[in-house]
């Protein structure tokens, strides 16, 4: 338990160093006690489960592919976190029969009241949508229920769906989001699954096929129920994730989102910008997807025009160096003066400590960057490699640095130096983020002061674009309502 807590604390530092913001919505929905099965999409390799694991007080048992154990950096972590390794057919030579033992272990952990985190897609990917879910998670649920029944105990397993999204998986200081959905009681799901047509059809078919003396194949019914459970889980995770039907759709929607999310009251303060709430973002994406699907059938020309408008706006804003979130920046002398006072204070007071942090961190940072670039063959593993390489590299460098300082530098300066290092590292990271924001904001402000008509024109174009989307939504809703009406009432 101590090694688990220590690993969790260290990983949390690593994640906070890599990501600028980690936004977890709904974490209170994960029960603090009792058996819990967490299921989510899988897009960022080993970083995916860490987002929740590092924020939950209760221990969580992770699952991962067996080939990870061959990685010398990950092996100690796998041991410390008690990760359960699963064999996959696509890993070449993996014995999937070992999975029975592993899954048995997971069910035991759940029976003991533990929490298990599993990725039914089976592997991390960068596809626009979810991959098909394997039935392993559902089978765990059913096995848990069967054992509970055998022990004459209540089946108190809770299933929690989670959607994960990363702003830019291979970019340092980007955002990570996890949305935790409403939990279900497994027993309720199983009962609903058993009552579905597909499950009872499977039972009927099995009965019809049975020859005299042969028993109905319970496994067939289990398979059918597992399929239904898997479909339900997939649907729940899909609702919580930013999924798209194609790369094109993903590109179009992610281009349009920042234009829609901009706050008309003005650009958010640099220190208090928490980004768009995940629930709102999911809702916007769903509505945009519905709109695109509707237009593809009814008016593809209008869809092309909207896509062109979004692309044009994105291009013009990028060319002007303006972030969509800053398009509504208040060009107001009083606010500008307050901004200057506040941000100049941060820049000037924070600069020496940030510089001190960078000087002390530079060798470790350079080494980490070089190693991660060499190791990462795709964007899926960039963040994982960055987090898992940075921990031992920075750890070793910090120990070496402290030792050198304490030996070579006279007291009390050595004590000051040593004590300053963790603070200086943290300030360097945050100051780097803030300084970037300040430069962007000042550039945008000066541009809008010099060209107020440009700001108004861009705002008008965005307003027109959003008005068009709103009209489209109203028309689509009306059409759907109309089509749902019985023909005699149309």
């Amino acid at each position: 338990m101590i090694t688990y807590r220590l690993a969790r604390a260290v990983l949390r530092i690593g994640l906070n160093a890599f990501f600028r913001r980690i936004h977890i919505e709904g974490i209170e929905r994960i029960p603090a006690r009792g058996p819990v099965l967490i299921v989510s999409n899988h897009t960022n390799a080993f970083v995916d489960p860490l987002l929740l694991l590092t924020r939950l007080e209760r221990p969580v048992i992770l699952t991962a592919k067996r080939t990870l154990a061959a990685n010398p950096l990950l092996r100690p972590l796998i041991v410390a976190l008690r990760v359960v390794l699963l064999s996959r057919r696509q890993d070449g030579g993996g014995d999937t029969r070992r999975n029975l033992h592993a899954l048995d272990g997971l069910v035991n952990a759940l029976r003991e009241g533990g929490a298990v985190y599993i990725f039914p897609e089976g592997e991390s990917h960068s596809d626009p949508g979810l991959r098909p879910f394997h039935t392993g998670a559902a089978r765990i649920v059913l096995e848990h229920a069967a054992r509970a029944a055998a022990e004459h105990a209540a089946d108190d397993l809770v299933i929690v769906p989670v959607g994960l999204h990363f702003e830019k998986k291979d970019r340092w200081r980007s955002d990570a989001v996890a949305v935790v959905g409403e939990p279900w009681r497994a027993w309720d799901l199983i009962a609903a699954g058993a009552a579905t047509d597909s499950a009872s059809d499977a039972k009927t078919d099995a009965a019809a096929d049975a020859t005299a003396g042969a028993a109905i194949d319970a496994a067939t019914e289990t398979t059918a129920i597992a399929a239904v459970l898997t479909a339900v889980m997939r649907q729940a995770v899909e609702r919580l994730s930013l999924t798209f039907r194609s790369d094109d759709e993903r590109r179009v929607i992610l281009e349009a989102l920042p234009l829609i999310e901009g706050n008309r009251d003005g650009a958010p303060p640099l220190h208090g910008d928490t980004g768009t709430p995940p629930a709102r973002r999911l809702d916007l994406v769903r509505r945009l997807k519905d709109g695109i699907a509707a237009l593809e059938h009814t008016d593809p020309g209008r869809l092309r025009r909207l896509e062109a408008d979004a692309e044009g706006l994105r291009r013009d804003l990028a060319a002007a160096g303006i972030s969509p979130r800053e398009l509504w920046l208040n060009v107001h002398a009083g606010r500008a003066a307050l901004f200057v006072v506040r941000e100049l204070e941060i820049l000037l007071i924070g600069a020496p400590l940030a510089l001190w942090g960078w000087i002390n961190a530079l060798p470790a940072y350079a080494a980490t960057r070089t190693l991660v670039r060499r190791m990462s063959r795709d964007e899926d593993h960039w963040a994982s490699n960055a987090v898992f390489v940075s921990i031992p590299v920075f750890g070793a460098w910090t120990v070496a640095l402290l030792a050198a300082v304490l030996i070579l530098v006279p007291a009390p300066w050595s004590v000051f130096w040593a004590a300053s290092i963790p603070l200086a590292f943290a300030v360097a990271l945050h100051w780097h983020d803030r300084a970037g924001g300040i430069i962007r904001r000042v550039r945008t402000f000066l541009r809008f002061v010099r060209h107020p008509a440009e700001q108004r024109a861009l705002q008008a174009r965005v307003d027109a674009f959003i008005d068009e989307l709103r009209s489209l939504e109203v028309e689509t809703v009306a059409r759907v309502r109309d089509e749902a009406r019985p023909a005699v009432f149309r």
């Binding site: 303060p269 220190h271 208090g272 307050l338 006072v341 506040r342 204070e345 941060i346 007071i349 924070g350 400590l353 300053s420 603070l423 943290a426 300030v427 945050h430 100051w431 803030r434």
Partner: protein, 282 residues
């Protein structure tokens, strides 16, 4: 605004009792009674302001102005109103903390021979004032209403409780209580002169227990860190640490004053935002 008001009331009542008992503080008691009435009237007027942003700013100004006023008046009346002196008790506490060593003497004698070190510490000691004032300004003007009212409540709790400490444990600090016991005199430069002149202008060293230098700077730093601007909180950690050193090395505080100031800051941070939240939902 409740805790500062209560603190003012306690101070006024204490001065009144002391005046009745024959201490030469009748004028001060009357003055504080007037201040208390003015504070009450001000609080009533603030409540009647409709616009929330204006009400919060006005409340902030009222609390802060009254606390600063109280700080300057206490320096002149405390030792007349209260018949005992807390320096002896605080010195004994420090000796216990230092396991027989006097931390103020040890630290001050280590620093005093270096004029540069003394002047640097005087700079950090003096930097408390612009740090505090700038933080108050940026909070009252530039933050959302919830953060503003939380800050004002936290400030009010810290200062209100600290002034109770000033009054009932009146102490002047090692600079007076141990005068003549230090190996070296403090020699600095313009910053040390500024510090000495400011303190003398407020009635001389007083209000050692608890240390508001540390309490207030720690409160502001942690408030930033927890409520909206973590980077601002982080960059001032070195200043807060150096202020703590400076208060003891320059002989204005005992170490136990720092512990008390720090504890009060944490208490204020725990209950201030809650009080503000209760007021907003009421």
């Amino acid at each position: 605004m409740l805790v500062p008001g209560l603190s003012l009331a306690v101070v006024t009542a204490t001065l009144g009792v002391s005046a009745v008992l024959g201490m030469p503080v009748a004028g001060a008691a009357l003055l504080h009674a007037v201040v208390l009435l003015a504070y009450g009237a001000g609080a009533w007027l603030v409540h009647r302001i409709g616009r929330e942003s204006l009400r919060t700013a006005a409340a902030g100004l009222l609390v802060i102005a009254s606390m600063f006023l109280l700080y300057s008046t206490l320096g002149h009346v405390t030792f007349d109103a209260i018949p005992w002196n807390g320096d002896g008790l605080l010195r004994a506490a420090d000796r216990w903390i230092g396991l027989g060593v006097e931390p103020a003497q040890w630290l001050s004698d280590a620093i005093a021979p270096s004029r540069g070190a003394v002047e640097a510490l005087a700079f950090f000691y003096a930097a408390f004032i612009p740090y505090l004032y700038l933080s108050i300004f940026l909070t009252l003007v530039g933050r959302p209403a919830a953060e503003r009212s939380g800050f004002i409540a936290t400030f009010g709790v810290l200062y209100g409780l600290s002034f109770i400490g000033y009054l009932f444990v009146p102490a002047r600090g090692p600079i007076v209580a141990m005068a003549g016991e230090f190996e070296h005199a403090l020699n600095g430069g313009p910053f040390l002169d500024l510090v000495v002149a400011s303190i003398d202008g407020m009635g001389g060293p007083h209000g050692a227990f608890p240390s508001l230098h540390l309490g207030a700077s720690l409160m502001v730093c942690l408030y930033d860190f927890r409520h909206g601007d973590p980077l601002r909180g982080l960059i001032y950690v070195p200043l807060v640490v150096m202020i703590a050193f400076a208060t003891v090395a320059l002989r204005y505080h005992w170490v136990v004053d720092l512990l008390a100031g720090g504890a009060l800051a944490l208490l204020a941070l725990a209950i201030g935002p809650r009080l503000a939240g209760m007021r907003r939902s009421a």
